[in-house]
């Protein structure tokens, strides 16, 4: 390639990048305006219910990466958890501020008092209960063993003895594995941090993982993974929203719980669950496991 052509090409690339940068900037402003409009709508609702004094907003730290609970599509934060909180905002007359943050930082936000609650299909675990107060349970997630399609000889935990499992140590799967295999002699554990259990399993780096029955097919299809769920559910997660213990949020927690109860009673919670998850997962007995 001669020098002039090379220069022209690199110049072109830079121009394209700059152009999309600026295009991006203006697009961003538009989304902000849309967001502001949404906030204004919420604020309007707030004013209607409590004309006297505006209540403090609720800050919710969420992943933004978890389909269909809290995820981003077309630069818009959406999902089951997002809709539940938006509704809580309308009913409590409080503005809901969502903070999108990496999984690792989500609990950090609560710990640092920078967020009131966290939302990302979070499980109630014994370890977490020591540090956090949870709202009432709003969803149940049965977890099943997941293996590659060609695996035929795994149907229960004992079939996995001597094999490699990828898991998140702080979540329900960690809690379950600790009770199933407390001395860590049966199953070789691979800790998940920042990566994707789906990828690792699909690529054959591990033999199994646990996946949520309710959203298995949705996530599997999206990544086109050649994996399947087998056997009965091994444990069922109880999902709720945590806030920091002894942080003066007792009243707020009661307020949120009252609204969650109301939403459960009038069917809003089930409706939102069906809208996003495709089934009513707010009641444990409603979940029917089918292959």
């Amino acid at each position: 390639m001669n020098k002039t052509l090379k220069r022209a090409l690199s110049l072109m690339f830079v121009v394209v990048m700059m152009a999309s940068m600026f295009a991006g900037c203006s697009a961003k402003e538009e989304t902000t305006t849309a967001a502001t409009a949404a906030t204004e709508a919420t604020t309007a609702a707030t004013e209607a219910t409590t004309a006297a004094e505006p209540k403090d907003p609720i800050i919710v730290a969420c992943g933004g990466d978890w389909l269909p609970y809290a995820f981003m599509e077309d630069d818009k934060l959406q999902g089951f958890d997002i809709d539940v909180w938006t509704e809580i905002g309308v009913r409590t007359g409080r503005e809901i501020k969502f903070e999108i943050i990496d999984m690792n930082g989500m609990f950090g936000m609560i710990d640092a008092d920078k967020a009131d609650f966290a939302a990302r299909q979070i499980t109630v675990t014994e370890a977490r209960k020591e540090k956090y107060d949870f709202t009432d349970i709003y969803a149940y997630s049965p977890y099943r063993i997941t293996v590659r399609n060609e695996v035929e000889d795994v149907t229960c935990m004992d079939d996995l003895i001597g094999k490699k499992m990828i898991y998140n140590p702080t979540s329900s799967s960690g809690q379950y594995l600790d009770s199933y295999d407390p001395d860590q002699t049966k199953i070789e554990r691979i800790t998940l941090d920042g990566g994707s259990a789906w990828e690792e399993l699909h690529l054959g780096r591990v033999d199994a993982t646990f996946t949520n029955y309710n959203i298995f097919e949705m996530q599997r299809a999206k990544g086109d993974y050649e994996v399947k769920q087998v056997g009965d559910p091994v444990f069922c997660e109880e999902n709720a929203y945590p806030c920091l213990k002894n942080s003066g949020r007792e009243e707020l927690l009661e307020e949120v719980n009252a609204v969650l109860k109301e939403m459960r009673a009038d069917g809003t919670l089930s409706e939102l669950s069906i809208k996003w998850v495709g089934a009513d997962v707010t009641d444990k007995d409603n979940i029917k496991i089918e292959d």
């Binding site: 990466d65 981003m72 690792n104 950090g108 990828e199």
Partner: protein
């Protein structure tokens, strides 16, 4: 398999997050560079007390992982210090990244200061110049030339370290790519796209570096 459409869409939608990353990098650079110059001068003249403190500072920031510094500050200390709690994540990242990079840059600059021959300092003294005058008129102009290549190394590392922003909630280039990857389950496409954007961005910075070097070459 590899979804070309998704990849190309992302390749053109990611650059709109370049300003976020560049802003973080530029602000951190300003902080780290000015702090590093002060620290390097302290080290160079072995200013009593301050020299020891600087050594501890450099040792701490160079020997511990950046992510642990950031988390201790932003999440850990926030519980006890209201000023940190109310701090924006951008400010916190710029501050810690600036402090971190300053420790590396300080050593870079100190090395550059040492590269100027002692004889010139003595010559300066014989002309009745003060230490500060010698630093400003004799040593610095020559040291800058030596310092530019390693300093731009530091700057490149700093720019890439801004990718840690999403762990404290800043949606920068890397944060956007992570979100895209997680939501689409398309890891290959997302990370390849973000790599290319970083590459082009930093290659452009390197271009600026060589222009500066070229300009300085003709002096002295």
């Amino acid at each position: 398999m590899f979804e070309l459409d998704f990849f190309i869409d992302l390749l053109f939608s990611l650059p709109k997050f370049i300003p976020v990353t560049l802003k973080l990098a530029f602000l951190s650079l300003m902080l780290s560079l000015s702090l590093a110059i002060v620290l390097a001068v302290i080290r160079h003249y072995e200013v009593p007390v301050l020299n020891t403190l600087t050594k501890v500072y450099i040792s701490f920031f160079r020997s511990t992982p950046f992510i642990s510094q950031l988390f201790l500050f932003y999440f850990g200390l926030a519980r006890y210090v209201t000023f940190i709690r109310d701090m924006s994540s951008t400010f916190a990242l710029v501050l810690i990244l600036g402090l971190n990079t300053a420790s590396f840059m300080c050593e870079t600059i100190r090395g550059a200061l040492l590269s100027v021959d002692k004889g010139q300092v003595e010559a300066g003294h014989s002309l009745g110049m003060t230490n500060l005058q010698i630093m400003w008129h004799v040593i610095l102009p020559q040291a800058v030339k030596v310092a530019i290549p390693p300093l731009s190394n530091n700057f490149i590392n700093l720019t890439k370290n801004t990718a840690m922003g999403f762990t404290v909630g800043i949606i920068d280039l890397m944060g956007k790519a992570k979100l895209e990857a997680a939501n689409s389950f398309r890891f290959t496409e997302s990370y390849l796209a973000v790599l290319i954007v970083y590459w082009v961005m930093i290659a452009a910075m390197t271009k600026v570096q060589s222009i500066i070097e070229e300009k300085l070459k003709n002096k002295y």
